[in-house]
């Protein structure tokens, strides 16, 4: 497992709590995770390119699956809510949530190693997945509520 900095894990936790939270039904959790991945793809894709985003996700999945082997089947550039619900039914909500949160932390960590952790955190804030910044509407790709 790649060592994660506290900055990356803290940022991932913050984003996760803002966007997904706890104690939801399997369907709500699945939809929130799908929405988060979609926002990440659109927003980070704008900055680093769609291919750049996919490559980053691939590597993050590859690292995270050492702890959560099921994650590689679940997290693709396009994620299906039904697959998330199936994973929750198989492994339980806490495990799926922990795997998803770790995946996000690994992505931030990897991004930080390339562009510097400050820039990575700044990008994460500015892509609209944190409550205090403009929120990208996942329903309309590329559009930002300001």
């Amino acid at each position: 497992m790649t060592a994660l900095s506290s900055a990356a894990t803290d940022a991932a936790s913050s984003v996760w709590n803002d966007r997904i939270g706890d104690n939801h039904s399997a369907a709500t959790t699945a939809n929130a995770m799908v929405d988060l991945l979609r926002v990440l793809r659109i927003s980070l894709g704008r900055w680093i390119g769609v291919v750049g985003y996919s490559t980053l996700l691939d590597r993050a999945v590859g690292i995270t699956r050492e702890d959560y082997p099921w994650i590689s089947a679940l997290f693709q550039p396009e994620i299906d809510p039904a697959d998330v619900i199936a994973a929750i039914e198989s492994f339980g909500t806490p495990v799926v949530m922990a795997g998803g949160k770790q995946l996000l932390a690994v992505m931030i960590e990897l991004l930080g190693r390339i562009v510097g952790i400050n820039m990575a955190l700044h990008l994460v804030k500015h892509i609209g997945i944190s409550g205090s910044y403009p929120v990208i509407r996942a329903s309309t790709e590329g559009e930002v509520d300001e």
Partner: protein, 499 residues
Amino acid sequence: MNKHESAGRGLKDGLGLVLLKTGVPGLDEILGGGLPALSFNLIAGSPGSGKTTTAMQILFANASTARPGLFITLLGETSLKMLRYQQQFQFFDITRVGTDVHFLNLSEEALDGELTKVLDRIVKEVDRLRPGIVVIDSFRSLVNTSTAQTPNLELENFVQRLALHLTTWEITAFLIGEYQENELRNPVFTVADGVLWLSQEAHRNSVVRKLQVVKARGVAPMPGLHTARMTDAGMQVFPRIPESAQFDGGDRTRRLSTGVAALDDMMDGGIPAGDSLVLAGPAGTGKTTFALQFAAAGIAAGETVVIAIFEERPDVYLHRAKGVALNLIDAVRDNKLRIIYLRPLDLSVDETLDEIQKAVKSIGATRVVIDSISGFEMALAPGFREDFRESLYRLIGALTALGVTMFSTIEVVAPQGDLQFTGYQVSFLTDDIISLRYVEMDGELRKIMMIVKMRGSNHSREFRIYETTANGIALRQSLRDYEQILQGFPRRQMDSSNS
């Protein structure tokens, strides 16, 4: 008009073009004030010449939250790498990213090879963000991915439409592309309002960057190739000193003490203010001591002095001053003396001038010492040594135009009897020349000096023996009754007649 903008002079008074400050030190001066707002520009050149950095610097200098900057990456350097490396420059302020400065990666659209799709996306993003400045990097690579049967024609069409869109949206735009010099006839160059050409050349172990304003509609740019340097601060350009900025005369009635009273007497009171004096002599003749005394005399008279050195470090140089009873450390501390140590071995004359000029202006110096011109030549990149005389001419001209009095030393290795006083054939650009020599007298090696030339001024014609003592230069007897001095073996004239 925001703080980055200024009214441009244009080519004709009253044209009133708004010029954007580029944020690249030296570039506005070369451009004739800045870049015309709403212009459509091309930053072209070879790989690694600093195109992206220059564009990014301009972007950060002109972006604001109200009119942000948009940096669009098409192909070439990946966005991740670009962000990784560009943020190391001081101008790259992370906190402005996402508000003042936006990045957009369109590599997917570009890889599809459909320029219309790329254009549509650019237009859409411009409409959304309303930027004041847009950079497209790397624009040239589009032609390589184009699926059109006539990619060049399609590219030309694309550029025309892009230029039209961006101008209509009141945007100042920069396309970045790798071009060779033989491609200047490319239609893209015709469409562009401005073309900045960047290049870098390797000379032995040094690399020299150059910038040329090939084209700039609406302004009157400074012609020629200008040296550029990339530092932590980003790109900096050193405007090539125009020859029109030469000697302005100055008040030649005022005399400046050399710090050696007897030498002042020989010079009819000292060095005329605003003159450029060259002190030439072989190794060990005390050139630096003369230079230090000139500097110390200025400080003692309440003037401020800049010394440019190339061979010794400042602490060693100051220690050497102490050896002849000159304590200049306090003067450095009190900003009355600025010592500039330049020895990177890939300097250009323009960079050297820039450093000296900045120091002169910073402390209001009236005296400048260059110790030595020989060391200065060694510090230059090999490519600049080829036209050293011309460069030196421009350097001295630009400095004396500031009103300073210059004192330069030159090491000569001419054999005894050679009447070439400076060895560098630079006498034409100096007002005054003092030559130092070794002679053999009474079985000893003695040092003599003579004033070879003082433009428009009386001066002593005699040869004087001098010594370097613990208190500095001490002039001794005149060799008035001697002959064959320049041959290195002075003989009393009487002795000669007896023989």
